[in-house]
Amino acid sequence: MSVLVWLGSAPPERSIRWLDGALAAAATLARPGAKEPRVHALAAGAPTWLDLAADRATRAGVGSVGVTTDLALDYLGWGQVVAAVARMLDATTVLVDEASRPARVPEVAAIAEHLDYAQVTQVVALARDGQDVHASRAAARTTQRVRLRGPAVIGVRIAGPAIEDYPTPTPSTAMRRLALEELGVEPSVLARRALPPRANREPRRTVAEVAEHLAVHVVPRPGGGA
């Protein structure tokens, strides 16, 4: 089993504890006694983010790969990049840190579709059982326990320890840095998946604005949607 952990294209929005949790979960899936690192963390984006990702991966005892790019892509674009790295590393299990940034949630599906792997999202616990993986998935007010056989992309929401502060990472030589071209991905073609500009995120300050923001979270009433 070779495991790749996709940490994303930007640092976590609020703290790194879910990133650490994803790395720790991946480390538990590693092949015991393997000489070479069979778990790799993958990050893409700006150099400072890659330094942070490399630092956290090293602390978790896993290898790391970084793709330096200034592209801001949609879920399909990042899915293509991660799939290319997974093929290069022969990764049969890809974990995705779903919790650190909401935009990463659909990347699970994009990676799985590119690789034609099975997928499971919203996983809160993982355990290895021979060549199978047991996963517990949060689904509404139940926990679904599933058994995965064969290659899979797994979106994880597993927290590491609470962290108030952490050392500023320094540029790491442990991370293997790749250019998109080395992955067989043409940047000019990939740029077609660039994200359109989104609205700014200034906080809503009136009841009407906040209600408008919350309206998409209102639960439909049983018996007709109204």
């Binding site: 504890r17 659909p106 949060a138 906080p203 923001h213």
Partner: protein, 308 residues
């Protein structure tokens, strides 16, 4: 104009309310765009009988469906791509829809929605509403939008409440026999869980509001509208405002999709997608902040969101 397709989850023997709401949004879009509205159900039907309960058909017809597609699967139904993905792909390949909708709070949406988008190479809106009258479009809170003139396919998870004018009971039912598939994902069991720390919505009460019955009542009302879990610290629990098992410590790892913080509630929000604060100023990463009268603002929010 191409097809608008709505995935329907079943809740027991009835369409799930979030799916019906998505169907209502689809009705508004399809009518505006001049498209045919399909409602599709994947059913476990190993004997290939191709039947679906009359009540389900009637509900979907009255909610606005032009046609109902029943995809028969020999795999037991579970809200997992690994379980229903093969059958659902059959529906997508058959209809080649321009727009696919899911109820954002329907059980299958997190698994099927993004994967459908990836399969269709579609733009994806994760929580959207149908807005407008003559020219209906879909919009999400981050500014994402799907309009009639857009090229390419789109997939949207529909949030909130949508209500369609009541349609008649006349509807075509199309039965699709989908290929058999051996799933790489086996559902072992689904035990109940008391608190949902890694999804959904939470309303968190600060200890400073534990003695204010108006705030506690209106916070519970807002939580009900949002389908949110009401949580709080030890002082709030002592006041009886949150149930046992809903007491959360400041460092508890939570990753809800939405967190509404009331008063001085302090939580580790590292995994939270959207944060709204009441009674304190905003801050970095806050989507909304209302200062001033907490109870009054909670009541106004709940009243606004309860309106049809």
């Amino acid at each position: 104009m191409g097809a608008v397709l709505v995935h329907i989850d079943l809740d027991g023997d009835r369409p799930h309310s979030a799916s019906v709401s998505a169907l209502a949004a689809g009705r508004a879009v399809a009518s505006s765009w001049g498209a045919t509205l399909y409602a599709a159900i994947v059913t476990h039907d190993p004997e290939k009988r191709g039947t679906v309960a009359t009540d389900v058909v009637t509900t979907l017809a009255r909610a606005g469906a032009d046609k109902i597609v029943v995809a028969m699967s020999d795999v037991p139904i579970a809200p997992l791509w690994g379980a229903v993905g093969t059958a659902w792909r059959g529906v997508l390949d058959h209809l080649r829809p321009r727009l696919v909708l899911f109820g954002a709070d329907a059980p299958s949406a997190p698994e099927l929605g993004p994967r459908t988008g990836a399969r269709l190479a579609a733009r994806l809106l994760l929580r959207a509403r149908a807005v407008g009258h003559d020219e209906v479009e879909l919009r999400d809170p981050d500014g994402g939008c799907v309009r009639i003139g857009d090229s390419g396919a789109a997939v949207a998870l529909i949030g909130g409440r949508h209500v369609a004018p009541r349609g008649d009971d006349d509807v075509d039912v199309v039965v699709l026999e989908t290929p058999s598939g051996e799933s790489a994902v086996e559902l072992v069991d689904s035990p109940a869980m008391d608190v949902v720390p890694t999804g959904g919505a939470i309303v968190a009460l600060g200890d400073d509001v534990a003695g204010d019955p108006t705030v506690l009542r209106e916070a519970a009302r807002l939580a009900s509208v949002l389908g949110a879990t009401l949580v709080g610290g030890p002082a709030v629990a002592s006041a009886g405002a949150v149930a046992l098992g809903r007491v959360v410590e400041r460092r508890a790892p939570l990753a809800p999709e939405l967190c509404v913080l009331v008063g001085n509630a302090s939580l580790d929000l590292a995994g939270t997608s959207s944060v709204v604060r009441l009674g304190t100023t905003g801050g970095e990463g806050v989507d909304g902040a209302l200062r001033g009268d907490i109870g009054g603002n909670l009541a106004r929010l709940a009243r606004t969101l309860e309106e049809p």
